[in-house]
Symmetry: C2
Subunit: 212 residues, 2 copies
Amino acid sequence: MSLFSRKKSISVQTIRRLPQYLRVLYDWHGYGRELASSTELAEETQVPAIVIKKDLQAVGAPSKMRAGFKIRGTITAIENFLGWDNLNKAFLVGTGHLGAALLGFSGFKNHGLEIVAAFDTHPERVGHEIHGVQVYHTAQLKSVIEEKKLKIAVLTVPGAAAQGITDTLVACGIKAIWNFAPVKLAVPKGVAVQQEDIASGLAELCARLKAR
Amino acid sequence: MSLFSRKKSISVQTIRRLPQYLRVLYDWHGYGRELASSTELAEETQVPAIVIKKDLQAVGAPSKMRAGFKIRGTITAIENFLGWDNLNKAFLVGTGHLGAALLGFSGFKNHGLEIVAAFDTHPERVGHEIHGVQVYHTAQLKSVIEEKKLKIAVLTVPGAAAQGITDTLVACGIKAIWNFAPVKLAVPKGVAVQQEDIASGLAELCARLKAR
DNA sequence: TAGATTGTTAATCGATTAACAATC
DNA sequence: TAGATTGTTAATCGATTAACAATC
């Protein structure tokens, strides 16, 4: 056991499955259950049992031989792996339809994210609140980010504006950007960008529909 | 060339990348360009050139040796593969924040989707229009689906309601469901469900942020 | 004990990547 | 011709799947 015995990096696929497990585990934990076997989780999530076993082992979920994984401990292990055990302060740029929808989504608090500020350029939005979140003018980005010590940016601006805003964010020292604009952002190394492309899912659905 | 020389099935990963190529190609086509090499597309999309080459070959995009892929023909090939060359009539169930945001998103017309009806149970929404789309009561699902010959369902209802609505949709003969509720839907074989789980992307971002 | 499960290693599969020929 | 590109086949890599031992 050397200092270098770091767990070998966990695959993106595994990471993307974790929230799914988490939801079921929260549910069962709420009912007072203490153990969950990969077989049972497989039934609930439609993910193969052996995949679940491997995924949970990868994040170091505690288990009891022959009995299954310890629900409470597995929740902790996943939350810990994702950094969802304490809230990251985040802000949202672009309070259009999608932005407003995300501001109204209370579920993020279970997912390590707390959106505490929003930004826009439209005069009729600036200065108001949306779902309890104050909307500032984009010109105030730097000062508000510093003042509130914000770490994660949620980008819901039009595609044409995305790169410009991104450059500003990078200049402000932001290290994580969750981008909903259909544009590949150029960022310096060291800044994590998570691209959400709604068209990908639609393409998948259409291709499957067509293939039948 | 037998009847069975069907292109070997294209991977999900390839399918999910196609819309990205499409956006760049639309753009360049708008400028009157006729050819695009995989190298140039790689620069624009940050996808490796050889991946792009393979992807475009897979959908049968036309090319000129030494010169690149023919933009107009490649657009056609991708649209055709995805069935985006003519609009699928779709409807949306659940006109909450996210549902309203999707109704207001005009971009779907470029993606083979035309949302022509919406459903909800809230009395204050039923009977009104949202972004020009009529909202019906969920009780009218069957009749409206049949009357308007709707094919694709977009589900933006709360998780607790998703499976119940799905059962109704299946009974109405719907074959494709684009599900934004964080619930794995149980459907009979032959019904395509595309699951969008916003938490997956967030998990990916958080894991990457944590790993640094 | 029997049987269901985790733990662990090996086999399989398929996507990505590399290599190089063919082309204009 | 030289050089950039597509076309095509082979090599690599890593995720999934299978197999079976260990456990209680």
